[in-house]
Amino acid sequence: MAGLDPPLALVAELTHRCPLHCLYCSNPLNLVPRESELNTEAWLRVFREAAALGILQLLLSGGEPLARKDLVALVAGAVEVGLYPVLITSGVGLDRKRLRALKEAGLAAVQLSFQALEPGLARQLAGGEFLDHKLRAARWVAEEGLPLTLNVVLHRQNLHEIEAYLDLARDLGAIAIELANTQYYGWAWLNRAHLLPEKESLEAAYAKVQAWRARNPGVMEVVWVVPDYYAEYPKPCMGGWGATHLVVSPDGRALPCPAAFLLPLDFPKVTEVPLEEIWYYSEAFNLFRGTAWMQEPCRSCPRKGIDFGGCRCQAYMVTGDLTATDPVCRFSPWRERWLSPESGGPWPRGRSNPG
């Protein structure tokens, strides 16, 4: 495709294995089994092709990437070809020795997730006793001098702890915290009745974030990932379809975004097609590039170059139509039917905590 820029980041979903069992897990409902995972050689080849294609960042993700025994070798191989590897982890499976080995191999940064800080809630959300270990792992990362970002997925059960997450990140010396309101795909979609917050508690949480920012200027970057069901317009998902990111699933399928597994599309495999060909020429990656695929109200909308019609996965999930306007959009005919609290929609009924 002419005029198309090379991708910036490769999201390498090394495995779907994970010791945690979060209600909102972003992995598909049909997890890739261990025996179908790409081996070390295959990943190293993908990294070489990625670097040659112009990819700069490598997000080592999963599942839990630490479940891969070859993680140090993968990091070393990525650095060798010039990629900037970031480990996206729960911290479970990390020990000091392994962290040092990863650092020596050239790991650039670590993003560590927390589910909650109240022990009972943390146990319930992650499906096990992981909190103390996560706290230790976060300290090790900071002590090793690796840039640390905390990530907390937000939902109705943990929004009230938001200040504690900010304080923890600050006290650990994190460079950033991502307060990521749950995105409703896969498991989160299935469990949405337990996760979707009330508008008032979201607003209260956001006010706390703003007050915290004002009390702690310049301490760290605080990223608030907007809960798009409450937004007026959809998010410009991934900066547009096939615009900046290339995701490779544990079994080698190339996707334009981590949620795209739920779409009825034929995604090419990196074991069969070179990455460059996938990015520039594959049907799946070209399908929703540009604006020619759009229907109304997107087609004539002045915002079509801003949010690109919103998220294709959300549009398909809710409307069954791959080219529909994201139902979050105020111009979508689905919004009233589906998203207004009066309609029932996906919203939780009542205010009780299902936990």
């Binding site: 090379p6 980041a9 112009g54 700069l56 010039g82 900037y84 940064a109 001098g145 460079i175």
Partner: protein, 92 residues
């Protein structure tokens, strides 16, 4: 003009920052956790000089190298102010 970047200040690259050539796009990139910035040659040079040098020393080093004009100081301070605001460099 009132600069936010005093000449005696020292800066260093943000934690995790790596600078390398980008043969695909042509130029130099600054890589940070989950961020990549395409730089022109001078910007890359200024950032690479931030280690252990004051703003004044950076300006002088560039002046010697390029026989630069009178705008040099302003350009360097303007760029560093932006780099600081964007989190590419930290004040030491």
């Amino acid at each position: 003009m009132q600069w936010n970047v005093p000449m005696a200040d020292r800066y260093r690259l943000a934690p995790g920052a790596r600078i390398r050539p980008d043969p695909v796009r042509g130029g130099v990139v600054l890589l940070l956790p989950e961020r990549a910035v395409l730089l022109n040659e001078t910007a890359a040079e200024i950032l690479e000089m931030c280690q252990d040098r004051t703003v004044e020393e950076i300006v002088e080093a560039l002046r010697v190298r390029y026989e630069a004009g009178p705008d040099l100081e302003e350009d360097v301070r303007g760029f560093l102010e932006e780099a600081l605001a964007r989190g590419w460099v930290w004040r030491v």
